[in-house]
């Protein structure tokens, strides 16, 4: 069994991760301070924060969004992700 799976599906195949709306983000870094999974990474330059490890994000967790004052974080549509997982599970059924 792969090291990093969620519901039997390789984690990197599940497109669940935050998206930063840079029009709103003020780089306060609250989300990065909050997230214990190193999903975010700070960097030099104009764009001081990126989602560098999307596969580290806990599927269905949106807790960091609550720390975001300017409401710059969004997540994928949950029912769609459930469908993706169901489909991948069916495809991987023989494995």
């Amino acid at each position: 069994m792969s090291d990093n799976t969620f519901m039997g599906v390789p984690r990197e195949k599940i497109p669940w991760a935050p998206t930063i709306d840079y029009a709103r983000c003020d780089f306060c870094m609250e989300c990065d301070k909050f997230c214990p999974h190193q999903v975010y990474q700070r960097q030099e330059g104009d764009v001081k924060l990126v989602v560098s490890n999307p596969a580290n994000c806990v599927v269905f967790c949106r807790a960091c969004a609550k720390t975001c004052g300017p409401d710059a974080l969004s997540f994928p549509n949950k029912p769609e992700i459930i469908e993706v997982i169901k489909r991948l599970r069916e495809e991987g059924g023989d494995g």
Partner: protein
């Protein structure tokens, strides 16, 4: 085989809820191979239904006038389950609509309400359900250094977000697994959901905060919240002490357990998952 029932529905055909009561009654009778009692004929000729009324009786009222319930009371019938359509729709955030002919969407609601009636515990069994939810649990354990993670062997289902669900009488309690509460450490705060909130599978049904982190409680099942556990809001440590019984967070009315179940783990599968997690567990 499912238990059979006699069903006495509202016969109010001049309001939108009446035809819905009829549809629910038909669905119940069909599903349990029960007996339908026409309120008009029963009123004129009770003997006609003497045989049918040997079965436990479900009464379905359309509106607040509760004609069917009153009729049952006049004839001293013992009612084991009842439903008032207008009220039930309101609870679900739905309406009876404008037309006397139910549309497909409302027919689907009727089907759901019929299923709920058939799976609902009989009146006066709230205590039985409470007993089912608090029955002692037999645990399997995973040990890693000085940490011991308990996993109920039976009666619980889990999602991979380390939340559990325990089902009794058409309802489900949800909470955090022992693994998750130990990973978080001493809890300092537990946010409960609103009673009445519609929760989808994998929606947050509250959150917990510990000295180390904040975490959403991801619901393994879908349905409206019908109760919350005020004890854990007041004393979150209860979740640390007894995560599977006294530490329940919310109680949901089940919408579609069969469909939810496809994405859940039983105790044994969750035990395997915790074994893997424990292998690289660093508190």
């Amino acid at each position: 085989m499912a238990e059979r029932f006699a069903v006495l529905p509202c016969n109010g055909l001049d309001k939108a809820v009446g035809p819905l009561a009829r549809e629910i009654a038909l669905a119940v009778v069909e599903a349990c191979e029960g007996e339908l009692v026409c309120p008009v004929l029963f009123n004129n000729l009770p003997a006609r239904y003497a045989k049918a009324l040997e079965l436990p009786l479900i009464v379905i009222d359309g509106c607040g006038t509760r004609c069917a319930s009153k009729l049952a009371a006049e004839h001293a019938l013992k009612v084991v389950r009842k439903l008032q359509v207008a009220e039930a729709l309101k609870e679900m955030g739905e309406s009876a609509g404008e037309t006397l002919t139910p549309d497909p969407e409302r027919l689907a609601l009727c089907q759901r309400l019929a299923e709920r009636l058939l799976s609902a515990p009989e009146e006066g069994t709230t205590r039985d359900r409470e007993a089912a939810f608090t029955e002692p649990v037999e645990y399997a354990t995973v040990t890693r250094d000085k940490f011991i993670f308990r996993i109920p062997r039976q009666g619980y289902l889990f999602n991979e977000n380390h939340c559990w669900v325990r089902v009794a009488g058409g309802r489900a309690r949800v909470g955090l697994s022992d693994y998750m509460q130990q990973e978080l450490g001493d809890l300092t705060y537990c946010e409960l959901p609103q009673v009445g909130a519609e929760i989808g599978q994998f929606d947050a049904v509250g959150s917990v905060e510990s000295v180390k982190a904040v975490s959403d409680i991801i619901s393994p099942v879908s349905g409206p919240v019908v109760a919350v556990n005020p004890a854990v809001a007041e004393t979150p440590e209860i979740i640390n002490q007894d995560p599977y019984v006294r530490g329940w967070v919310a109680e949901l009315e089940l919408r579609d357990l069969e469909s939810d179940r496809a994405l859940l783990l039983d105790g044994e599968a969750y035990l395997t998952l915790v074994r893997q997690k424990a292998a690289d567990y660093r508190p």
